[in-house]
Symmetry: C2
Subunit: 467 residues, 2 copies
């Protein structure tokens, strides 16, 4: 019997909603890791022993305290829209479902504060009622939560103007609960935000998030189509570098990716490479001019609206691209890569020419270090692991670096090195027993508690490639 | 007697407000060219023969027609806040004062349309009432007009996020009246905007301007102070590159420039180099963190408000910096320079080290070609012309290029080469007799009309340096 099922532990959680039906435990312990055949092999079957659904921070504190006292692992679930098993409990224990911690605390000029379980779509809508909106959101806006996004996300729709979630000014505060016998509630601001940002919930339980908001724009969705991939790529870069054109989405898709997209009849000409765009309505004319200048064709232009039954363009972009293809062809998988600053377009073109349709080019343009750069979520016709890693190795010779989507290990994601030390240091005090989402950090050296030793994943991080 | 004073000409303007008192003609024919001792020598005494003050586009058409028929030169006056004699009539004739053409035509989501004579401050305020604001404005926001800005300006407060006025998407349309016997009213959109943008009114009379607007932010004014100039420069660059920090102003001033600024007691520590900042209120905390990280000190933080008697920070910045110093020391002048992309900070530091207080460093950080760059309006302790040009020549060896503020010739301003051909071509049809603001384009080859030959400025553009 797992520690989480022990009567004394259950008694400690009395009054807090609990779920222990095996079918629900299995269902709710999964995210979208199945995009990766590698993660699918490793994570299928992993599940929590108990789900706790707190309604208040006080209830979160009680769960954290019980876990610390009984040495029960604790993973946190937001919308479970991650792609790397970020929230999948590797060692059973409690899954803390934040769905009921869903109050918008306040929205004022340029900022908003939300409980961790608020869905991003709801946060965005509430902000818009006051003339503001989220600076950025993932393509899973409708399902994902604020807490999940800051714990497992990096960028998204809006990053072409507002940069990365980790950029100073994006996230203004995080309130975290520690996993100790007597948990503390800690407000992180400024550089301290890095202690818990994008930490997969390993260094504290994020219960409140304060975000910088953007003024709400009326957005227009556009698709530009191009004969030649290199031209499409250069257009997407130039568009992103056009400071006078206020953008929210600038996404490049090589043919045949558009052939997998349904619901956009007429906007996706056969054989053409496309750029999906969200642009401030006042700038749509400027985009049309630029499309013409590059010899392309504007094949869609419509107002952006969130409506039932209407798929917004961003649900073809970012991590939704792979999903759109997987709906039709279950054999594909994907890569996630970071491109060299100031040489990303050349690398994109070289990679497209080298791999053709085996690695279908898909790039999300975004601001990074003050530059227009892109990251890529290429859709790969998967043959076997060896071929996948060969592709990765070859890409690295082109300056394209893997941010490994086939690993659930935090340190295998690019650009996280700087905050890793800070997080590990913070974790020593916020999670002294190493109970928070155990197994997700390769550099956490604390001896695992006895309850973990039994169930420890034998293969460890054998799958994770040296970076 | 000038052609503009001829009874037949005056009769053609019947019903249109006219001013011909010599003192008013002299006063209103000037802009701020006197920052430059060189322009002062060349332009002092230049004046129109008649000022016409149209109230409608129809009246503008009548003036343009009369000028074409009688071969009378025509210059256009907005707020007369230019610094290079952009609007100074070199050959007498009519000065078209746009002050009464001051209706805001409409403001809708993300754009606004204004008659040319609307003051930028009024345009900004009217937009703000509807939740929008100007994307950028010059430091002369309170006096300058929309038409004057697009005819003689290039960038301004806001350019750190929205780039240059000439960037696609900034100016959405210009309505111009041609100077022909039967004038045409032409609406310019898209790439055609370049035909009249920043043309000093030489290729058409701008009567309406459609601008992209930005959502209105609550702004905060901040001053950060630094011991070391190089650190201050690097801070200003890093701030501009911080995509998560939404900025409106990012201006660097080397000591002793701050010693000339009054009204900011306590915010300008003796001997310190400063950065003046306007930032979205929600991001002020992120700026504070960055200031600390660079070892600086935040010496001012206050909400931005337009109030009588309160000098906004931007009135110390951009082209106001030189004015602030001139109020105290009449012997200074200035330079205007463009810095190399991706190497601007190094050039700034090298230049500061080389020239010290003789050339007081002042840089306005802004987006240019998708990068955080700066241009500089250095305040120079003027000795004589030779020393001034020696400084310029030495700067050019550092990659710093002059955008000559001591010339009234359009082609002497940097980065205008691309649109010059387009403008000259357009001018052939819009101003066949070469009457619009004659003498401001070195490349206009049309034979001057007889009325000009008499009064032609003998020295021509002898003062303008080969670029």
């Amino acid at each position: 019997m797992s520690a989480a099922a022990a009567p004394a532990f259950r008694a400690a959680l009395e009054g807090i909603e609990q779920i222990d039906q095996p079918v629900l435990l299995r269902q709710r312990s999964r995210d979208y890791y199945w995009y990766s055949p590698i993660l699918k092999r490793e994570l299928d079957g992993k599940a929590a022993d108990l789900i706790a659904v707190p309604r208040t921070i006080d209830e979160v504190v009680r769960v954290a305290s019980a876990c610390a006292r009984f040495r029960v692992p604790l993973a946190v679930r937001g919308g479970a829209t991650g792609n790397y098993g970020q929230m999948v409990p590797l060692h059973g224990g409690v899954l803390l479902d934040m769905a009921q911690l869903n109050r918008t605390l306040w929205i004022e000029k340029g900022r908003g504060r939300f409980e961790a379980g608020v869905r991003l779509g709801d946060a965005d809508t509430e902000a818009q009622l006051q003339g503001w909106e989220l600076r950025m959101f993932p393509s899973t806006r409708r399902q994902a939560t604020v807490g999940g996004y800051v714990s497992g996300g990096a960028a998204g729709v809006g990053s072409i103007r507002y940069g990365q979630l980790r950029d100073s000014g994006s996230v203004l505060a995080l309130k975290v609960v520690t996993c100790e016998e007597t948990p503390r509630i800690i407000e992180l601001r400024g550089a301290d935000i890095g202690k818990a940002l994008h930490a997969y919930g390993t260094s504290g339980i994020v219960v409140e998030v304060e975000l910088a908001l953007a003024p709400a724009y009326p957005w227009v969705e556009m698709i530009a189509s191009f004969e030649d991939f290199a031209v499409a790529a250069r257009f997407a870069q130039q568009l992103g570098e056009s400071d006078g054109i206020f953008l929210k989405l600038d996404s490049l898709f090589a043919w045949p990716l558009p052939s997998y997209f349904s619901g956009l009849d007429g906007a996706l000409p056969e054989g053409k490479h496309i750029v999906m765009i969200m642009v401030a309505a006042s700038d749509a004319g400027a985009v049309q001019c630029l499309v013409k200048e590059y010899g392309g064709e504007t094949t869609l232009e419509r107002p952006y609206r969130e409506e039932r039954g209407r798929v917004p363009l961003y649900e073809y972009a970012w991590n939704h691209t792979t999903l759109q293809v997987l709906k039709i062809d279950k054999t594909v998988t994907y890569l996630q890569t970071i491109f060299p600053i100031d040489a990303n377009v050349e690398a994109l073109i070289a990679s497209h020419e080298r791999f053709g349709e085996e690695v279908m080019a898909h790039a999300e343009f975004q601001r990074r270090q003050g530059r227009t750069n892109c990251s890529s979520l290429q859709v790969v016709r998967y043959r076997d692991d060896k071929r996948l890693w060969d592709i990765v190795a070859e890409m690295e010779t082109m300056g394209i670096k893997l941010s490994n989507p086939h690993s659930y290990i935090l340190e295998d994601k690019g650009a996280r090195v700087l905050s890793a030390d800070l997080q590990l240091l913070f974790k020593r005090e916020s999670d002294p027993h190493g109970l928070l989402n155990p197994g997700k950090r390769s550099r956490w050296q604390a001896a695992p508690p006895p309850s973990l030793q039994e169930t420890r994943v034998a293969s460890g991080h054998g799958h994770s490639r040296a970076r």
